[in-house]
């Protein structure tokens, strides 16, 4: 029995697994619908996960441009390749693990190679769910980053979804969006986080160490910076929402102005943000101490987010402890 079949039987894809407050925020679904109202080319494809991927908003308002493909991720991505070749801009939706690993060859041949404007939108990034190992995407960034022509973006939260979405839509080519369903609404005021493909955002400026993070780990990195500050270590926090292309120039600049660089990601330590930053440091011969906070090379069980972050040592506290220990052992002699 396939994972998709199991998913269909369990009813995991209805709203009972999305908190009510998340449904009220739904930044992604609203951004997609708003854009589609303005652009006739935008079509929305789903694989039996409309509520979980916030695309029921699109389905209900623009039904002729909404295509429920059923539990058929491979066919969905292939069909999206056909639609894009016919002039549409298809947005395909599922959980991160099913929109990447399950359909990797379809993406390579029908999306990435022909450089089509197909947008692959995944939810449940990294270790984030009680649904267990089948629903945890710990290798999706590695997979998508290694595809030529593919752009990989992970906003830090609802406050950045609008700007990341706009950039993904404007890019004339394939994009993988790694999204976390958040329980908070984006702040409509001046706290919205801007975004440019290929650019990182400095969220906080410090002097001693730079913590480069993506997705929900930006918030954990902020927490780590608070803890480190109390311990006398001043930390810069950078939101690396553009995982590919990476902001190589910013990494180089941070390496020159800080003594220690730490990456923090909710993803395997193989092939994700940490690997990408390490490549820049090694290839440019940057003289800086480097540490990585990531999921070790292991599969995980399902549990609530807070439990999983704690178990896999991904919380702000763990980031702070690791950073401090590297700082004291290797930098501040």
């Amino acid at each position: 029995m396939s994972a998709a079949t199991a998913r269909g039987m369990g009813g995991f894809h209805d709203t009972r697994h999305v908190s009510p407050s998340a449904l009220s925020a739904r930044s992604y679904g609203r951004a997609l619908l708003a854009a589609a109202r303005e652009d006739e080319r935008i079509v929305c494809l789903g694989a039996d996960l409309s509520a979980s991927t916030q695309t029921d908003l699109f389905r209900d308002e623009l039904p002729t441009r909404f295509f429920m493909m059923g539990i058929q991720e491979a066919n969905m991505v292939g069909a999206a390749g056909g639609m894009a070749r016919a002039g549409d801009i298809p947005f395909c939706h599922s959980f991160c693990v099913f929109i990447t690993r399950r359909v990797y060859d379809q993406i390579a041949m029908q999306v990435a190679y022909p450089k089509l404007p197909v947008k692959l939108v995944g939810f449940l990034p990294g270790l984030a769910t009680e649904l267990g190992v089948s629903h945890q995407a710990i290798d999706d960034v590695a997979l998508m980053r290694s595809l030529p022509n593919m752009i990989v973006l992970e906003p830090c939260g609802p406050e950045q979804i609008g700007s990341v979405f706009a950039a993904a839509l404007a890019h004339d080519g394939p994009v993988y969006l790694r999204l976390m369903t958040s329980s908070s609404k984006p702040d409509e005021g001046n706290l919205l986080v801007p975004f440019t493909i290929g650019k990182g955002n400095i969220a906080r400026r410090g002097q001693d160490v730079a913590i480069l993070a993506a997705g929900i780990m930006v918030q954990q990195a902020q927490h780590a910076a608070d803890v480190l500050n109390e311990r006398g270590i001043s930390a810069t926090v950078v939101n690396m929402a553009s995982l590919k292309p990476l902001d190589d120039g910013l990494v180089a600049e941070l390496a020159q102005t800080h003594k220690l660089i730490i990456t923090a990601e909710n993803h395997s330590r193989i092939g994700g943000l940490g690997s990408a930053v390490a490549e820049v440091i090694a290839l440019r011969g940057l003289r800086v101490r480097f540490g990585m906070i990531a999921v070790n090379d292991v599969f995980s069980e399902g549990a609530k987010l807070a439990y999983l972050l704690e178990k896999h040592r991904l919380t702000g506290k763990h980031i702070a402890n690791t950073t401090e220990s590297l700082w004291r052992e290797h930098v501040k002699l």
């Binding site: 295509f67 491979a74 056909g82 070749r85 379809q106 029908q110």
Partner: protein, 277 residues
């Protein structure tokens, strides 16, 4: 729309020309799929020289009929078809599979829009066709989508996802032709995986289906007419082809990558030359 169907003699002569090109191409570089190309030559003739609504001087015409070769490796025949149809000079066939040539063993979109999708990783072409058919229908285009799959390719699970999808969406602008030659890399396809009846399978997935002699142009053209007239359902043509068709000493041979001795290549060409009407 009244469609111009060329006289059958003309089409038979075109099929002979395609077969001659296939033999010459594969013989000159010792690479490619000879028996399959000969077997499918009538399908390609019926499609490209009668059925498909194309503009060779405007390959990007938005209302063109789409053609996808899901088994992308049967390209000696595909390139010969493009050349004889007028997309590029016949002399370009001499570059087939040579280093640096765009005429690769597996056709890719680096050749431009005439390759509507990069296939070769088997099982994907029907899904792409479903997407194209959905988009064209949404836009109210009269363009139709044609996709050719090999029978061995039906072993891929994605084909059945796409078949279910096409039936469920009622895509009557979609026509799939299965090149039923019973040949795959491992040998006789039914000895690899028992496929059972193909048309009945598709009918149960919501398609209209028919079975024809895939080396009989009249039957193929009739089936394509039925496909065009069908409303509310996608259409399957299970085309029973003979590998090596048109060259008696090659017909029915089941070798995935057959190559001929120079003498046999000359014999094959001589036979095909002698068949013109």
């Amino acid at each position: 729309m009244t469609r111009h169907v060329p006289p059958i003699n003309d089409l038979e002569n075109i099929a002979l020309s395609l077969r001659r090109s296939v033999v010459s191409m594969v013989d000159s570089v010792r690479v490619g799929y000879l028996l399959q190309g000969l077997g499918a030559a009538d399908i390609f003739t019926a499609l490209f020289f009668s059925e498909l609504n194309l503009r060779t001087d405007d390959p990007n015409w938005s209302d063109r009929d789409r053609f996808i070769l899901s088994t992308a490796h049967n390209t000696a025949l595909l390139y010969a078809t493009f050349a004889h149809r007028g997309y590029f000079p016949i002399s370009r066939l001499e570059t087939y599979t040579r280093d640096g040539s765009e005429l690769e063993v597996n056709a890719s979109e680096r050749m431009g829009t005439i390759i509507e999708a990069t296939c070769g990783s088997l099982g994907q072409g029907l899904s792409v066709a479903v997407g194209m058919a959905l988009s064209l229908r949404r836009r109210g285009s009269e363009a139709r989508v044609y996709v050719v799959l090999g029978d061995g390719e039906l072993q891929e699970g994605q084909v059945w996802e796409a078949a279910l999808s096409a039936g469920s969406f009622g895509l009557d602008n979609l026509c799939m032709i299965v090149d039923r030659n019973y040949l795959q890399a491992e040998g006789h396809s039914d000895r690899v995986v028992k496929m059972g009846p193909i048309p009945e399978k598709f009918e149960s997935f919501g398609w209209n289906a028919t079975e024809v002699d895939g080396n009989n142009l009249t039957e193929l053209l009739d089936a394509l007419r039925s496909a065009r007239a069908t409303k509310g359902k996608p259409f399957l043509i299970n085309a029973l082809t003979k590998t090596g068709a048109g060259v008696p000493f090659l017909e029915g041979q089941l070798s995935h990558v057959a190559l001929l001795s120079p003498e046999d290549a000359q014999r094959a060409l001589a036979h095909l030359e002698g068949q013109g009407k």
